[in-house]
Amino acid sequence: MIELKGICKTFKTAKRNAGFKEAAKALFKKEYSCIKALDHVSFSVSDGEMVGYIGPNGAGKSSTIKIMSGILVPDAGECVINGRIPWKDRINHVKEIGVVFGQRSQLWWDVPVVDSFELLKDIYKVSDQEFHKNKDVLTELLDLGEILRTPARLLSLGQRMRCEIAASLLHSPKILFLDEPTIGLDAVSKVAIRGFIKEMNKEKGTTVILTTHDMQDIEALTERILLIGKGRILLDGSLSELKKRNETYKKLTVDYAGKGVEPIPGLTIVNSVEGHAQMTVDTRILSVSSAISHISGQVDVTDLSVSGATAEEMVVALYKEFSI
């Protein structure tokens, strides 16, 4: 159980304009500006839930993760995770969580990955039996095999990230925080990691909170999303709810032979290049089926696909709606 109530955090940053004169001035008088990274953030996540935490750059996602993992102390507010306040009872708290910071590495640079794992085993006091069981499962699911015996510095980004995730799960944490786990990965690795996270959540009931900019991650993994912008939680709901909000239009992609399609009320042509056109249908005015019959009445359709708004577009729409 994770509960955040009215969490605030303000960062003070020194600011100055470019140039020698400004730099010299800053030696004597520094201008600070306060940035409200988190402004009364409240939400709760129950056990076994999988939550996608999204928001634009600098919205406060990582700060929230840092607070929840006990390495950042908020200015105000309450945060209770499994009955503990993370930054007050850090050592006991971190025993039960696993964290992956996509931008940093926890593996030892110049020793084989498996050595880092062994050290983590001792640090978390994992029993031999549990360690081997977890290691075997992780090796299989994340396809680690030979990678484990390679020094971390020789690994590619995707290989390393898979090892990072495995390293965070060796002690079977109840809660897993993933801060951009798929950053910079290729499609294959992304799919592997998503599949794995899903598996963990289903099999072991691990609570997962993940931040990402990749909407496919969200679509593939989470039912619930939290949208944060300028330090405030703007939306807390399910992905399908969000979809409903945006279901007022559909996208049609058409390949055709013929002269072209005339727009009618409710049907707008976004672009059309010789035999290929993209259109949107406003479903409040025109039903999809009548739009299709209108098109096929005018041209000879060779291919046609209908799609709703992608998660990406929905998020862009949300950002616009909240003007963040």
């Binding site: 960062f11 993992s69 930054w87 850090r90 971190v94 969580i97 931008q103 001792d122």
Partner: protein
Amino acid sequence: MKKYLSFFRIRFIYGLQYRAAAYAGVATQFAWGGMILLMFAAFYKNSANVFPMTFKELSSYIWLQQAFLALFMSWYFDNDIMSSIVNGNIAYELCRPIDLYLMWFLKNMAVRASRVVLRCAPILLVAFFLPEPFKMSLPNSLLEGALFLLSLVTGFIVLVAFSMLIYITMFYTISPVGIRVLAVSTLEFLTGAIIPLPFFPEGLKKVLLILPFGSMQNTPFLIYTGVLSGSEALQSIFLQVIWFLLLTFLGKRFMKHALAKTIVQGG
């Protein structure tokens, strides 16, 4: 406790693999120790009686200093620790159920100890077989030898406890270089790494001996050479223990304060 031991073990083994560095280190230490002794020899030739130590004692002192350099070198700072503070990887270390102070303390000890293990034996061995005034001599008695070993360990941990304070100050600054340079040059001079403390002017010496600076390399080496003996030696070891406790207490408090204010930036 097991996690700390296994951490120490891994770091120690890890340090042992740098053999080429060890050979180079041994050669450097010989050249350096030889030069210092020759310099002092010139002074002693002029008037041997005005100095606080006999040349024989000084020879032992210098060779011990060279052999155990890695234990007491104040200019050594662990790159891993410093870069983890500067680049924010400390975020991961903070997510572990470990006492960061103890972990870093052991890391420092392990690296220094592994270096000494590789270097001290050849230096000491050759030093014993050098010609007369320059050779290293045995301690006066078995008891003094034992006290030396004890004091070597306490002096070592006093130094590590002191350098921990320097690591922690890095939490408060953007670049670790400034404090490091200042601390290193001060420590080198005040702990007697450049000129043994007995050669210092009376007043300054008295102050330094009470301060932690006198409780690092000064105490064990002076016990070995017999400058400090009997109850004086015991008193100095007692003082070392006091400083160790005080410095670790301070370090832990300081670290707690630093971590409460730490903001891992970016990402």
